[in-house]
Symmetry: C2
Subunit: 201 residues, 2 copies
Amino acid sequence: MSRKKQIEQTATALFKSKGFSATSMRDLANALGIEAASIYSHIKSKEEILQRVCFRMADEFFEAIDAAEATGGTATERLQHAITAHVQVLTNNTEASAVFLHEWRHLSEPYHSQFLSLRDTYEARFRGIIKTGIKNEEFMVPDEKFAALTILSGLNWIHTWYKPEGKMTPAEIADNLSLMLLMGLKTKTDTTLPKSHLTTP
Amino acid sequence: MSRKKQIEQTATALFKSKGFSATSMRDLANALGIEAASIYSHIKSKEEILQRVCFRMADEFFEAIDAAEATGGTATERLQHAITAHVQVLTNNTEASAVFLHEWRHLSEPYHSQFLSLRDTYEARFRGIIKTGIKNEEFMVPDEKFAALTILSGLNWIHTWYKPEGKMTPAEIADNLSLMLLMGLKTKTDTTLPKSHLTTP
DNA sequence: CAAATTTGCTAACGGTTGTTAGGCTTGCTA
DNA sequence: TAGCAAGCCTAACAACCGTTAGCAAATTTG
């Protein structure tokens, strides 16, 4: 592995645990066993590392959902595949995922805006699937934007507890999450809906 | 309002938008229209502000779930009430919630450990309700820890998009979330389960 | 073996950080 | 009216920040 990749990887681990701003170049250098100034033989700036991690992860998420959606099928199946794809990317690189999810706001312009735009595009893919499912009468949900955000936020917590050596494989996590988000917690036989303040029946 | 509360509130807004580490005392002073050194007439340190926000929010979450669980009822009802209580606290103070959820890791010891301990206790309350629901056969879910974390993470994304002037009231948000998390996206009539890698039937 | 590239070093820069010391002004209270 | 407290100021501190310059050793490549 190239030295640059090593630096990026070590930095990612530090960014995850301490945050981007609270990680100094001297911290990073110390973790690498070299001097801070030496890092600049390999990278242009501290933010360059953050940029590379954020946009590489964005690429991975898009590639994953492209592959997942290419299979077609019902909205239910497509959503399942999208969830599985998302979980796979998250579990394949938990540290970079954490940075991607939490440290992007330290990007400077124009990267900050670019990132937000990409994120919105990605969320729109989920909204699209859910919208289709609502039209199909596969799904019953008050608002597709609301649903998409809740699903994604449910998925995006994984990196805080997932350990590769844990008892659940990424595929099982994805299945459990699909099941829970699509079917809810309630047993099928129990059809009592929670009482609601909603006016729409 | 006391000057100290003002400082705390202004700091909370900055901590939310820029993060704790990236917010300097001079930034905070500038937002208040005074000099950085003047702040130390009111507080002991920068971290004291973070501590106060984090532990005050923790208190609020505990008070809310205490009140919610005191009503009793089925596991379904208790979970609904807990979700509503959680959403109420989140929406009542979105900025402090964001700090509570994302900036706690910048607490120094022993506050860091204390905070994690409180958070785990709070999560255990949700796990307890879900566990009861599984025993009651109200809920059908592979793992209560998994379910609790997914629910809480679904709730904890609210602060990123919730605006008091938005079209959904906190009560409606809580209802929609309860409905979605308890019943899932799928229409009731459609009983087809997603295909699964799980061995447990 | 020679050239070129990679990798690291020391020293230092200009700027920013959280925080302290000490003093001045304002407004309330005894 | 004297005294006190609240609130803010300037000046400064030691430490730390990201980064650059210039150079030396090591490793790879021709």
